[in-house]
């Protein structure tokens, strides 16, 4: 499976949750598959989805699901120790690990070679780290939500992107409707 197929499959689980979605094609795919006011789309700032989601999860009690990518986590590796030492129970970091920088033309990342993100997350202090195959994503995500424990999921899947339109919504509108959904 590629990322967009996973997102289609887990859309019913994501729909009722606060979701912070990574820059580029992941946000375009989620927006096209199931746009919700509970989705915060990153339009720029590669690497910070996990950080934004962590701040959000610490600041309020609702579950927060971050849809991140292997390339983006690699660009902000300092995030893993911060998560490992501060992870609240309502935080789920789902790293879609397709071993490539999808938004820029599928150049390979190091996770497709020797680098093991799950091992890095564990070494950084993250207590609940699960590795799942693409087909098991929905079940693992639901289990993480049901567990009530902060979780880092590494979802191994194929490289590739769906052709989706660019998000043209104004960032302040994305942010404002998201904040209203958070507060509701």
């Amino acid at each position: 499976m590629i990322r967009s197929e996973i997102l289609k499959e887990i859309a019913p689980i994501l729909r009722d949750q606060l979701v912070v979605c990574n820059i580029g094609i992941p946000s375009q795919e989620l927006h096209a598959i199931d746009d919700q006011p509970t989705n915060f789309y990153m339009l720029g700032t590669m690497g910070l989805a996990s950080s934004i989601g962590l701040g959000l999860a610490i600041a309020q009690p609702k579950p927060v699901i971050v849809i991140d990518g292997d390339g983006s986590v690699l660009t902000n590796l300092g995030t893993l120790p911060t998560i490992g030492n501060n992870c609240p129970d309502n935080y789920i970091l789902m790293i879609i690990d397709n071993g490539s920088y999808g938004s820029t033309g599928d150049q390979p990342t190091y996770t497709g070679r020797k680098t093991d993100l799950a091992g890095m997350a564990r070494a950084a202090g993250c207590d609940n780290v699960v590795e799942v195959q693409d087909v098991d994503t929905g079940e693992a995500l639901q289990a993480a939500l049901d567990s009530g424990k902060g979780t880092v999921m590494i979802v191994k899947c194929d490289s590739g992107n769906a052709k989706m339109p660019v998000i043209t919504m104004d960032p302040v509108i994305i942010r404002d409707r998201f904040m209203k959904a958070v507060a509701s």
Partner: protein, 168 residues
């Protein structure tokens, strides 16, 4: 007057309850004070752009955030300030240790100091420079201004403000 305590009192009085810090010798007293306050969730970050991401999330979650960092980090955070904090129109007080000014013992610090105000100006970030201790009287108003304007606002605090660097 304990200036670190005064600055953190002003944070608390303005309901700033989520503060991320990156270590700094000059701001060590402020960081200790932030850590000691039960009203504040203190989360050290490993890099300043990461910290600004944490602050963005905390603000969307209903908490008023702030970041404490050195001026060298302006070089690290330009993209985050432009494409996250400013693009989504979010408030962020940035309390900055302004290294490389008068009384600076380390020459390399001057190399970012000479760019600091130019970069903040280029980013259209309102900037205040604390040089004398009495300059901190305005900190409370600067915080109110930041959350009124929904913008990142920089507060540069130099070595003269802190009374020098001590032994290095």
């Amino acid at each position: 007057m304990n200036i670190s305590k005064k600055l953190v009192d002003d944070f608390v009085a303005n309901d700033v309850s989520f503060i991320t810090t990156v270590p700094c010798k000059q701001l060590a007293g402020v960081i200790d004070e932030v850590e000691a306050r039960p009203e504040i969730f203190h989360i050290p970050s490993n890099k300043e752009d990461e910290g600004m991401g944490l602050c963005a999330g905390a603000w969307m979650g209903g908490k008023r955030p702030a970041i404490i960092m050195q001026n060298t980090a302006i070089g690290v955070t330009i993209n985050t300030l432009a494409t996250l904090t400013q693009y989504y129109r979010m408030p962020l007080p940035i309390l900055i240790s302004y290294r490389g000014e008068l009384r600076e013992p380390v020459a390399c610090q001057v190399e970012m100091a000479v760019h600091t105000k130019a970069l903040l100006n280029q980013m259209l970030i309102p900037t205040y420079h604390f040089h004398k201790e009495s300059d901190a009287d305005e900190f409370d108003e600067i915080l109110k201004y930041t959350f009124m304007a929904n913008k990142p606002v920089a507060i540069l605090t130099d070595a003269s403000f802190w009374g020098g660097y001590g032994d290095q």
